[in-house]
């Protein structure tokens, strides 16, 4: 059965190699064997980076909360301007922080059983979908009450594309990898696309947030150009989105941090002892 664990994803530069020894001296006629053996788990720096990544993501969520609470109108469903604030907060928590953690479970909780990791991955995705729905209702009802058209900005167009990719990944992932689960070769063939479009959606989520911040700050901070406290805060939030994205994608594509299949994964995959 072919491994189709998303944790297999990695940028593998300089790993699948032809050694010059092999090529010039002919001492090794299977030069790639060595390279493959190099593809072993190497968790150097993993813990530090993981903590830094989670701290960055946590700080990001806190600063969005602080921004909406202290500089904007806080959180209340009955007041349109305050209702709007659920949108940036829940999209940040859902499409950025939780999405990152959904992707990272295969790295951060690498000793958990594969089936549990998949369930957790799918479970977090489902929680994100719930947050997205609330966040969308918040902004659409805010727009409607103030007679502002919906879905005209580039922020919303790219956001819709991002949510569509996210939704199809969730639905297809459930069917293909969890229940009922397709055959191993089909799963293996689908997995690269599941990973690629998962990371694409995550990157687009961050780009969409950056556009959302840009839009909002120009709308509400009239003296943005003189960089008042709120302007600086919004810019720092934007940089944190970027730094968080860089850290997360690194964590899940670095070859050494890959979770290699465990013997018990296979037992689970073959249905024995479940």
């Amino acid at each position: 059965m072919v491994e189709e664990d998303p944790s297999s994803m990695s940028l593998r530069p300089g790993k699948t190699v032809e050694t010059s020894d092999a090529m010039t001296e002919g001492t090794n006629n299977r030069p790639r064997d060595k390279a493959v053996m190099e593809n072993k788990e190497d968790l150097t720096g993993f813990n530090v980076l993981y903590v830094v990544t989670q701290a960055t993501g946590g700080l990001l969520c806190v600063l969005v909360l602080v921004w909406c609470s202290n500089y904007r109108d806080g959180f209340a469903w009955s007041v349109p301007a305050a209702r709007f604030n659920w949108h940036p907060l829940f999209m940040t928590i859902g499409m950025v922080f939780l999405f990152a953690n959904s992707i990272m479970v295969y790295r951060g909780l690498r000793n958990m059983r594969k089936k549990q990791l998949k369930l957790l991955h799918a479970g977090i995705h489902s929680a994100i979908l719930l947050l997205i729905i609330i966040a969308q209702v918040a902004v659409i009802s805010f727009h409607n009450e103030l007679n502002i058209p919906n879905f005209y900005s580039l922020h919303s167009w790219v956001g819709i594309l991002t949510m569509l990719i996210f939704f199809f990944q969730w639905a297809l992932g459930l069917v293909a990898f969890l229940f009922p689960g397709l055959s191993a070769p089909i799963r293996a063939a689908m997995m690269p696309y599941h990973i690629y479009f998962g990371l694409t959606a995550f990157a687009l989520a961050i780009a969409t947030c950056l556009m959302g911040l840009t839009e909002k700050v120009f709308f509400v901070v009239k003296n943005y150009a003189s960089l008042p406290g709120e302007g600086v805060l919004v810019n720092i939030i934007g940089l944190l989105f970027v730094i968080f994205g860089i850290l997360v994608v690194y964590m899940v594509t670095h070859i050494g941090y890959k979770r290699y299949p465990r013997p018990e994964d296979n037992v689970l995959l073959t249905g024995v002892a479940e």
Copy 2:
């Protein structure tokens, strides 16, 4: 000598595998051998995708030109508003279209000699630097003439970070991989970071462009919410940035499209027959 070709980069999900046959039946005690052999060049769909990618990038540049010419003030250095337009045009051509092509040379021109590919990669980077300089002078002098502060927006903050990464990649790349060129193990160790931060800069360039479009369209298209022609054009340009980015990153991370080392690469690397 360890291969340090940027074309080695790839997302490798489900490729480095443990087969269940191997694990449950013990018929294959070197299960990864098979997987490695699967990592061969597989150019299925490459030509079509390459043409679609280049066409998307070309269309993107043309539409930015059309936008600046037909809806904005065209191109003239003497008129501030027209001078500004060199900024979006040259940043799109430089940091997006040419940057993508600089990364893609290892895939698109895979039969060219390694040394020539490196020189082309570095050469395109140098041309981009020139375009960046002109584009920055254009916007800064436009701001100064209109008494608009420089570098206050999130667009500019993320843009500066992007340009810094790009610049260091160029400088470090020249020293490490071209002239004088560091030792093979050091190059091999650096290459994953060169690739990761290269793709990071490319993704950030696109995010920065999306913010730039967002900023500009809200500034200059007063009835943007009713989606006039210019609003639709800007949104389409934004989507093209996204689609182009998705295509380019796929092209350079897809394992089958990797340019595997050629025997003559090694001759070049070892300095023989250069």
